[in-house]
Amino acid sequence: MKNLAVINSSAPYGNSGFRESIDLLLANASYDRPVALFFCGDGLYQLVANQNPDAINAKDITKMLGLLELYDIEDVYFCQHSLQQRNLAASSLIIAGSELTAEAWFEQLSQFDQVVNF
């Protein structure tokens, strides 16, 4: 079966991309398709702790990330350079993942048959 990588490269709340990306990921995982989740650029802001989407009448999508465990999705990759640019630490994000240099992050991504970027 072809494997699938889902990238989040956009900041939260501007559109519904994050929700759609998680729906896509879980729908594919539920058919036992190998999947992985990649974060880079402003997409890393999706994972900042203590977000308060209620304040702007937005839905809290981060709660859905608890479903990754239910689906045994463990392959999560962060771009180290993007983290440093944004003064974010991988350890303070709400899910665990591997921190990769930009080269390694793209190398990992290139292993996938299909890639969808949100």
């Binding site: 729906d23 879980l26 729908a27 539920s30 999508i61 709660k63 859905m64 479903l67 689906y71």
Partner: protein
């Protein structure tokens, strides 16, 4: 589905366009039983187990599970003999995710059969 509303004990409850409760906090056991009767379901312990599970699921993950997700989650929590669509359809013949979320007072799952 045309909207007919949910009235119970003289109260008209706010519902969405699919006739699902709008407010999570309006829900209670008697109302759940009433919604079940609208779905032509008589609640048993097995029904309650799924309905309570699905409510906890929603509160934890902020999403109503569609049927495949429900099957998977029930299997993980309640065991493989319950985590299959045959069992869940035997309890909720018109679609376990669709009917159980309505009885549980949750929004209809997106793109749900």
């Amino acid at each position: 589905m045309s909207q007919t509303g949910i009235s119970f004990n003289g109260v008209d409850y706010a519902v969405d366009k699919h006739d699902y409760l709008l407010n999570l906090d309006d829900w209670n056991i008697e109302l759940a039983q009433h919604i079940a009767s609208l779905e032509q379901i008589t609640m048993t312990d097995d029904h309650w187990e799924v309905v309570n599970f699905i409510r906890e699921f929603y509160i934890e993950f902020n999403t109503s599970p569609a049927v495949r997700m429900l099957v998977k989650a029930v299997g993980k929590k309640l065991g493989a003999e319950k985590g299959n669509s045959r069992y869940l359809y035997s309890l909720f013949p018109k679609g376990p995710a669709k009917q159980a979320t309505r009885i549980a007072g949750l929004p209809k799952p997106a793109k749900c059969i």
